[in-house]
Each structure stands twice: as C-alpha cells, then as structure tokens.
C-alpha cells in the first residue's frame, strides 16, 4: 500500500536539495574566470588561426580566395584546433564523508560535492564534457548534464568507506577523485593504475575535517566509524594522537607517491579552509593536465 502524497513530498524534498547545491556550485564557479581555451595550434575548429602559403598537397578548396586576391601568392586559411575533453568525476558519498566535527563546519561530503559541481560547471562552460566515472552518467555537454550531476550527488551511499569507481573509463580522458581516502588504499591504487593504463590522468583531492588532522581527543573513548562498522576503544585517547598523526602522514605520502607514479596530482583540502582555494587549485591542476 503506497500513498502517493508522501512519495511526492519526499521527491520534492530530494529535489529541493538540488537548487541550493547548484546555486552554491554556480556561485563558486563564478569566482573563476575562464581564460583562452584554444589548443594553440592549427586544427579543426571554428576560430581563425592563421594564413599560410599554399603548399603542395593542399586542395584548391582550401585556398582562401579573399586573402589570395590581395596579392600574387595564394594562401590557405587555417583554423585553430579545438577539441572537447571528457572529464569524469568521482565523489566519495560514503558515510565517512558525512562527518563534521563542529556546528559551523560543513560535512566533508558537502564540501566535496560543491567543489565537484563547481568544477563541472566550469568545464561545461568551457565546452568540455563532464560525467561520472562508471556507467551511470557518461560525459556529456550542456547544462542539463549539470542538473543530472547534481541529482547524482544528492544520493548518499550506505557503506562506511567507498572505493573509487574505475570502470568504463574513457581512454585519455581526465578524472577527478574526491574522497577522504580513509578506507582501503588498495582500491585507490588499483583504480589509479587502471586509469594510468588507459592514459587517463587526473586529480586526487583529499577532503579532511580539521579534527581529523588535529585529533583533539582525550580520555577514555570508543571511536566508531560513521556507519558503526569499525570500532576502536581506548583508555587514553590523548596518547594515541602522535601515532594517529603519523599514520595519517604516511597515508598522505602513499597517495602522493601513487599520484607521482601515475602522473596524477594530489592535494589535501580541509573543510575549514575556503572552498575557493581548492577550486582554483583543481581548475589549474586540470588545465595543467590538459595543456600538454
């Protein structure tokens, strides 16, 4: 027995999440000015690139008669090479990302979603195709794709720690992985290796809560993961601090090494920092990857 009205209410509630997320992402994306996006070499495209003298092998149809009529030589009009990239996003939606240590701090997943959407908006504006890794939402152009992305980003995953989705990666595309990378690192390694095999390069953005960096706990404590599947009890939490921080540093090192090996870029972002800084870095990191 199902009552349609609660369903509708729930649907609307879900839908209501989208506009604010979109609005914030748009707002964030508005802070980045899009620059020249051409490939800076002759090729297929709409924009004028240069005139060059006709060389043997050029067909007559390629001659730009208007230019050639001004002199004796014949010129060919070249257009700038324009190509659209495919960028695939993966945002960790697992329970561990739904953590915020304070009332004023956003949840990690919230920050990750905003950043991912903002990047998507920027890319779409730049004419790129954006999608999700895996098969659920292949890269496409257009603002509708943004809406679809937003829709997917509002679905919480039930598991405690998620593994990166590395199936159906388009060769030579770009990828953005956002997570806290607190779960098993082997999945990340596997995903990145697979991506490198396919010539996919990209960015790893680790989103951390400040308390995860500082470990400000003392006293007898039972630590639970967000889903409650992992439990650790200690009598003096303060004593664990140094060792925890060491482990965290080791993990970051591992991720950085992995990125270096696969040609990816790695950065850590804290939810108490400005989202704009992370977005700028993301944008530059992506451009750096595509510029070559």
């Amino acid at each position: 027995m199902s009552d349609p009205s609660p369903l509708r209410v729930r649907a609307e509630e879900q839908a209501a999440h989208l506009p604010p997320l979109l609005a914030r992402a748009e707002h964030l994306a508005g802070t980045v000015l899009l620059g020249e996006h051409g490939r800076r070499r002759a090729g297929l495209g709409d924009d004028f690139w240069q005139y060059r003298p006709v060389q043997p092998g050029d067909s007559r149809r390629m001659i730009d008669w208007r230019r050639s009529a001004r002199g004796d030589a014949q010129y060919v009009r070249e257009r700038e090479w324009q190509i659209a990239q495919s960028v695939m996003l993966w945002v960790d939606q697992s329970a561990s990302m739904r953590f915020a240590s304070g009332q004023t701090l956003p949840e990690k997943v919230d920050r990750a979603r905003v950043l991912a959407l903002a990047v998507a908006i920027l890319l779409v504006r730049g004419g790129e195709r954006v999608g999700l890794t895996g098969t659920s939402l292949p890269p496409r152009r257009g603002n509708n794709q943004i809406l679809r992305l937003a829709e997917f980003f509002s679905i919480d995953a039930p598991e405690d720690y998620a593994e990166p989705e590395s199936r159906a990666m388009i060769p030579h595309a770009r990828a953005v992985f956002m997570s806290d990378f607190m779960g098993d690192l082997s999945a990340v390694t596997a995903a990145l290796t697979k991506a490198a095999d396919r010539g996919v390069r990209g960015v790893l953005l680790q989103v951390l809560d400040p308390s995860e960096e500082a470990f400000p706990f003392t006293g007898r404590t039972i630590f639970e993961s967000m889903g409650g599947t992992v439990v650790h009890e200690t009598l003096k939490a303060g004593d664990l601090r140094d060792r925890y921080l060491r482990r965290l540093a080791v993990r970051k090192d591992e991720l950085a090494n992995l990125c270096r090996a696969t040609g990816w870029q790695f950065q850590t972002h804290h939810t108490n920092d400005s989202a704009q800084v992370a977005l700028l870095w993301l944008w530059q990191a992506l451009n750096r990857g595509t510029g070559a």
Partner: protein, 931 residues
Amino acid sequence: MVVAGLEPGDRGMMLGPIGFAAPWLLWALAVLPVLWLILRAVPPAPIRRRFPGVALLLGLKDDDTVTDRTPWWLLLLRMLAAAAVIVGLAGPVLNPETDRGAGTGPMLIVMDGGWTGAQDWALRSEQAAQLLMDAGRSGRPVAVLRLSDPQPVQFQTAQAWRGRLTGMGPLPWEPDAERAIAALGGDTFETLWLSDGVAWPGQADVLAALEDHGPVSVYESWRAVIGLRPAQFADGGIALTALRSAPGPARDVTVAAHGRDPNGVQRVLARLPLRFEDGAEQASGTLILPAEMRARVTRFELEGVRSAGAVALTDDSLRRREVALIAGRDDREGLELLAPLHYLTQALGPSADLLTGPLMDVIPANPDVIVLADVATLAEGEEQAVLDWVEQGGILVRFAGPRLAASKVSRDNEDPLMPVRLRTGGRTVGGAMSWGEPKTLAPFAENSPFYGLPIPADVQVSAQVMAQPDPTLADRVIAQLSDGTPLVTRKKVGQGQAVLFHVTANAEWSSLPLSGLFVQMLERLSVSSAMAQPEVGDLAGTVWKPLQVMDGFGRVADAGNLPGVDGAELAQARLGPDLRPGVYQNDDRRLAVNAMAADRELRAFDWPARIPVTGMARADEMPLGGYLLAAAIVLLLADVLASLALSGRLIGARAAALVLMALLIPAQPHPAYAQDRPVDDTRAITATHEVVLAYVKTGDAEQDRISQAGLMGLSDVLFFRTTVEPDAPIGVDLERDELGFFPVIYWPITAAQTMPSDAAYARLNRYLRSGGMILFDTRDADIARYGASSPNGRKLRQLAAPLDIPPLEPVPQDHVVTRAFYLLQDFPGRFNSRDVWVEAAPPGAEKVDGMPFRNLNDGVTPVVIGGNDWAAAWATDERGNPLYPVGRGYTGERQRELAYRFGVNLVMHVLTGNYKSDQVHVPALLDRLGQ
C-alpha cells in the same frame, strides 16, 4: 536539614556521648556492602565518539594498561562518603541534653538579674531558655523572676515566657530582697535559681522565702565575677582596684582609661595592667597620668569584661583644679596663722594644685580659679588680663580685707571685677568697741549654690565690707548674715564669674575660715572638688541631673530625659530604677555614681548544704550531622577529582586551575610596582611645553564647553596678534590637578558649583601666593552689579572666602592692565560693566608730578573679579566663528574686539608683570630722542 528540626530530648539512642535523633536510619549502613559490589562491577562509562579516522586507529594499543575496575581506594572513598551521609542524616549529637526542666507542677525560674550576671548573661539566658523549653514539653506552668526588678510572680505557659525572656537583660543594680520576697505570692512551686555566684545582702532571706514555697535547686556559674571599684585619687596617682568573687589562679586584667583626646574623639587614653595573684581576690595598681590627661578621663573599664560593675565612671574627684592664690600683702613674716592665704592653702591643698606668684606670671598658666585675698587695686594691664581671663570662663574669688575696705575700688562705679559696689570703710560688729553682737549666717536661700549646707552655730562674723544697695544686689547675694547684709556676692562676667567674700580669708574678721563650712562653700563654688564620696549632708537640698547612665552591660548612654535626683538620695547611692549608675550634674559639678560601690566586696554566696547546686559549665550539646554531611561533600569532591585523574581528563581541571591562578596572581599588588609606579606626567608635559590658559571645571558641562571655547578663541587671538603663542586650553579639576603650570586660570561661577575641599583650597592659595592669577567671572553683569546679592555673587563670596585674597579695588585708571598691550579703559565681555576688581594699590602709591601713572605695586594682581562673561565673548568654534552674540551690529563687534583686547592685556599683564608700567618713561624717552 533533618538535624536542624530536631527537638532536643528526642534522643532515641545513645552511643557513648553521642546520641542519634533518627537511629533507624543507621540500618541503611547495611546496604554499604551491596553498594561496594555495585560500584566495583561498573567501571566508569567511556565516551562514544563518531570519527571517520578510526580506520587509522585500528591496531593501536594503549601504552599503560589500566584496569577496568575502580581502584579500591576510590571505592573506599565513595563508601566513606555514603556512610557519612547516612550517619549524618541519622542526626548524631555529641553530649545530648538530658531534661532538667522536666517534672510536674509550676516552676519558678529565678535570676539575680543584676550587673553581676552580665558577664555570663548569654549563657544564663540560654540556660533559662533551655529550662523553659523543657518545661514547655512537660506542660508545666512557668514564671520567671528577675530579682533585680521583681514583678509579682505569674505562672504562664513556657511559650509566653520565651518571648519575654529575650527582653530581659541584666540591670545595672543589684537584687532587691524585700521586693523580691513580696513578689513571690502564696503558690507552691519548684524553684530553679540561676545564680550569678555573688552574694548580695538579703540573699539568705530570699532563699528561705523560696524554700517555703517548694524545693529549690541552684545553677551557678563557676566563673568568678570581676568588678572594678571607683577610681580614687591617691598620692598623685589614680588608685584602681579590681575584685573577683572567687579566688582562683593568677589572672591578668587590663584597666583602660577612656576619655576624649584633644580632638574630642573618644579613645583609650591609658591602660593599666592589673594582676590577681594566685588565690588573691583583689588586684590593685596605680595609674599615674599628667593632670591634663587625668582631667579628660571619663571612665575606667576592665577590658574584655562586659558588666556595669567593670566600669568605673569618673567625676570631678579626679579633676584637680588649678587655683592661683594671690595675696595683697605678705609683709607679716612669721605670723603664719594670720597670713591671708593660710586657710585657703589648708582648705584647697588636698584637692587642688596651687599656683603662687605674681599675677601676670600666673594668668598665662590659665588656672581654673584665681583667688585674690584682700587685693584692692590691680594695675591697668593686670586688670585687663584678669578680665579677659574671667570672660573666658575663669572663676575669680576675692576676699575682703582692710585694704579693700580702705581703697576706692568699686565705690562710685561698679568695678568689672567686683560683684557689687562697696560702701566706704566697711563695718565692725561685736568687737570690743562696738555695741552689737557678732553676726551669724542666715540659712542659705534656695537659689543659692550653698543651699542645703548645714550652718554650724559657731560661725561668727565680726567685720565685713558692706555692699551699696543697688537694684542688682539682691540677685547677686548668695550668702548673707542673719541681719540680711551680704556675706558672699557673685556676678557673671562673660563665661566666668567674680565672687566676693565680704570677709577676710583668714580668721581676722570671722570664724568662717575655721569651720568645715568654708571648705564646703569652696567646693560648691567649684573652687575645689570633692575628694571622697560626698556625705548626705553635703548634697542635701541639691538636685542632680543625670547626664549619662549605664546599662547592666556597662554601656554608657545619654540619659535622655530621665528626671533629676535629689542630692540626699544620690549620697546614699541606693541604686535602683530611680537612681541609675551614671554621671550626674549639678551646676558646674559632676558626680559619678558607680554600679560597684567603693566598699563593695565580691564574695560567693555560701549555699546551705541542703540546696543542690549545679554548675553551668557543661559540655555543650553539639549536633554532628552538619559536619558529617560536609565531610561527605568533601569526599565526593575528592571522588570527582580522583575519577577525572583516573580517566585522564584532569588536564582540563589543571588548565582551569592554572587560568585561575593566572587571574589571581596579578590581583596581588607587587610591592616593587606599588612603590615606583611611574607618575603619569603627560598632562604636565602638555601643560608646560607651551603657555596654556586654563579654566576651572565647574561640573556644568555647558559652562565648561563655553570656557573651553572662550579660552580657545582668546588663545587664537593671542597667537595671531602677539608673541604669546598658547596651546589649546586645559580644564582643571581643583580637587586633583596641579595648578602651578598655568599662568592664569579662568573661574566662571555657577550657582550649583560644589565647594572645593580643604586640600584644594590649600593648593589654590599656594597657587595665588606663587604668582598665579585667577579670573573670577560671575557672568551676571547684565542683571547684577558686583557685590549685589545675585546667586552667582553669593556663590563667589562663598567660594572665595577661604582664599588668600588681598584687599581689592575697582580697576584704577592707571592700572597696568589698562595698557599692558592695548590701551583700554573698559573691560567688556558679553556684558559691559565697569565693575572689575583687582588688588588694591598700596596706600603709599602717589602720583609723581610729570608722570602720567603712579608707580604701582610690583607683581601681578592675584585675582581679577568681574561679571562680564568674558568666555562667552571670546568663544569661537573650530573655524574661528564667534559662538555667542555680543551686542548688536557694529557696536557689538567693537565690544567683542574690546573683550579680546582685555583678554590680551590680561595675559600680557600676567606674563610680564609690571614691566609695562615702565611706559611711564615713554614721554621722557621720546623727549630724549628729540621727537
């Protein structure tokens, strides 16, 4: 708390000296072992915390292994706390009371109620309240009888008496046996006697009377009652004797002499330690004080003893008057008994300090009395000196004699130092060559200071000087002979008096100096002061007004409107409601009546063996519940700390303690900082690095603003026109600020100004003397002439009264201020009044021929006083626009200009002094230059 509500007597159970109000609660102690098990089994709960980083924690072990179980000592702490709560709630009482007022039938509580009980009154009162409570529980009718103020015995409920008991205090006199026996009535009752422990007359009779009514038992404090006998003057010192009712171990007490110091403040003038030797009942000592200080002592008090008996009030007997004796002739060497001063010396010597010597040497010593024995004429200087001295309260006593009788003093006109005019020659009666009998004294009239003195029959007068019958004579006679001729006359001179004995001071003319009456008369005239307690006869016929009276605790209070006391009763000193211990006054004499008579002995009453006597001293009932509960709280707090320490969370507490300490430490003043704290001298630097005009802050914000703006405007004008370049003006607070930095201070007068303090006036005077100038401005020249009683003018007079201001005059035409910079004849402000006053020129200043100006005083006038509201005329805003209108149109602007010129001249005058006075030479200089 449960304990507080307990009725004593509900003691259910006793364990040794400890009783319990609710012993059944102790069963709860049986639960403690169970509590032990529960507490042991449950470790303190940990905190659950969601934390994604837990994945990184997996596998980490704690460094030191801590058991889950609560350590045994923490458990013990908690058990103790629980046990303390249980036992505390059970209401334990140490030394619980046993009922004493229980029984049947009416009960009479007898208290002595005299000053002897004041020392232990709280104890006794508590005891009585306890007895009442016990009696109330047993439902017995009760009466309370205070023997010092016995009221007919009325048996009432204990509740009714409890309220009245608090109003009963010890009275400053002793029990009255007769009235007490009369008050007992005819009932049968049991008597509980709370005795003071000191025997008093008639105590045995009262005991017998009480025993007629029923059994008597006695509660008596073992503490000795201490009393202080009245102070006696002996051998140049003050003899003080303290008594105690029971001999005991050695004990030290201190007698404090209270009195007013030269400033009129009550304080302890001297202390005398006394020591009761082991087994002695008496301790005496002698306090030697200078006569000046001795006269100031108002009472002696045993320190630390609150009782009327421990206070000895003093009267004139400690005051030794200084009497100067001057005789007219001292040429009869060898005939001592005929010397005019012999009898006076004998009569006054024991009680007064005698001064002899030339009159002019004696008067500066300011004696209380000067006796002139047969001194007729005084030199002019002497007479004036004596008159001044009498008018300031001296008593001049003159005796007649052959010289006075032969002289012309006070014959035609009354001499200021003689009470009456005298007839020439005097008269002799009853001598060998005369007809009459020697005269005797007539009884003293009621308005005479001698009224009541018995007249010995053998006092005879054979010669006297006679008074002229004047209209005032009747008023001035204070003693006369049987034929109505005056013997002693007196008149008031200023605050003092002049008394004339119409006979000689020796036995030549009368036998009066040989009789005791002579001494008594001198005493009544306050020439001498009584030495011992006066006899009945001495005081007969006088009425004494109580000045101060004591209560039972020895507190001295003003007598208020208590009625006067007859002298005879005062002499008997039977203390009671009609005659309270205190200080009594008649005319100039003061007499102290003390609670403890000079011959009073303090002895313990010898109770017959049949009377059970119980001590008051007992272990006090002490509820322990509160202490136990407090201990439980302390234990629980310790438990909190221990628990925190165990769980490693004490760091927060430590941090809090550190923060607390950090907050506390700066609160303690550091001695080094306190000593050399740098003085804030920025203000002084601002005020001195340029010339700065100042004004007095009046407390009226609007006026202060006008002053600031006015001086600002004047400063600007000075800056533009002269070489004086002042800084921004400064307002001074007379109470706080140093004035010496400012050449001139503008002081506007507002009616609401507060008077500066003495310290501020001292600063102002120093400022004026050291060359400062104050410009007073009453700001009311439009409505009042100077000196008229405008509110501001009156205020100015008030404010300036304590200032050191020289004579003033209106600014003369040739004053320096008229030409210090501009040539001025008027000094207008917003108003144009000519009334501006400055220091008057010295009287010798004369105009020299050919000079346009007088050569006036050196220096600057310290004040300029006017009412032209100069500040308002000078006032400008920041851009230099005038703030307040002056006059109308062009004449107004001209007046403002003149106001500025006056300000410029004034500042020039202040800064240059009379330098500009040298302009007197200008004509000569111009001549010399050939122009």
